[in-house]
Amino acid sequence: MQSLLKINGLHKSFGNLEVLKGIDLEVNQGQVVSIIGSSGSGKTTLLRCVNLLEEFQAGEIVIEGQLIGYRDKGGRRSSISEAEKARQRALTGMVFQTFNLFPHLSALGNVTLGLRKVLKQPRAEAEETAAHWLDRVGLSERKDYYPSQLSGGQQQRVGIARALAMAPKLMLFDEATSALDPELVGEVLQVMTDLASEGMTMLVVTHEMSFAKDASTRVVFMNEGVIAEEGPPDTLLTNPKHPRLQDFLARSQR
């Protein structure tokens, strides 16, 4: 099994506050890794470093053998151009907690934007690809609707289609269901679960323990900027060793 994502010694600070204190993580192709932890543990920041929405001060992120975020010039970090960063971001797809759909474009438009402007596909081809992905997330009937005309769950599914259409190697989910009304969570989780079972490599920050337990290959528990415990879902969730994890799971049971 091939290593898709390798993170070594990742350190990230916001000013004087160190948020990631040395993260080591490896994700192989086809694996689904769920990251759980309380707010402030750094899990979202970790995700945002992988697709360069945040800059990190030390450590390495390697996707499919490519060093991400900077160039290595004989052991020293050298910065890369915005165009290069944009290309590296296209290796991953991100689904946001607040959906972040482009309000001025229809569902179809949201998905085709990247295809036409980044992958330079002609309009007809882009629309076909986009229609296919919208159909995959169950929204082919709504493809001409605008974000304001869609429910939260539908918007998030468009967000997933938008990310998938770019054919990323790795999908990043940043608390994809946290902003949804309870009745709408299910439809999004279903899409994510289907994606997982089809072999997509996924890094999922989530509070949905059901997903962590049923759909992930591995669960990672983060606490105060480090990975406190890591393991297969069955053992980690039912038999937590780290005391913070025990507290966290006890609180989550409510």
């Binding site: 165009a83 944009a86 797809g93 946001f96 607040t98 972040n100 482009f102 990247g114 770019m166």
Partner: protein, 219 residues
Amino acid sequence: MNYHFNWKVIVEDWDKLMWGLLLGLEIAFGAIIIGLVIGLVLAFASHARQFWIRAAVKVYVTFLRNQPPLLLLFFAYFVLPRMGIRIDRVESVVLALGLYAGAQLTEVFRASLANIPKGIREAGLAIGLTPVRTNTLVVLPVMFRNAIPALGNSFISLFKDTSLAAGIAVAELTWQARKISTDTFAVLESWIAACVIYVVACMIIAQLLLALERKLKIP
């Protein structure tokens, strides 16, 4: 009351009033275009990384928007030629009002920009667009469409300000009305006519802008 209403003069010179109205609209149009360009550029410039650019924008906006437009007009018409810039009456009105509008519109666009959720930019970056393209393909269209109501108000405001051109003898509506009133002594008629024309014109423009807004609004 011994006043005999003499509406005939208004009817006779109606075309002059209408030409004046048209000139006012043309000036307003020219000014809003200038203002739009300035406003868009400066709104984005006010987020520049270099401090001096941000400061320069702030200085321009704060200074200009506190100026009486009539003073700007006189400055453009009287001072610029002495600085070697050849400019005629109408052009100086368009320039002066354009710069004035630019200051207002910078604020309008800045506010619209600030109201765009940060996440939308991030979504653009996440699908692989560079920051520049994210701005042009995603941020700009949304910002502009959201700013249309305020833009419409600015245009109406500019249109009313074109009346100031009468101060440097540009033959727009106000100047025409004053001429009729002083030439024919039909004071009541000419000023009533001027007021009515302005009010009706503003109402019509407002309705047209509302229709435009509805058409261009983000659904």
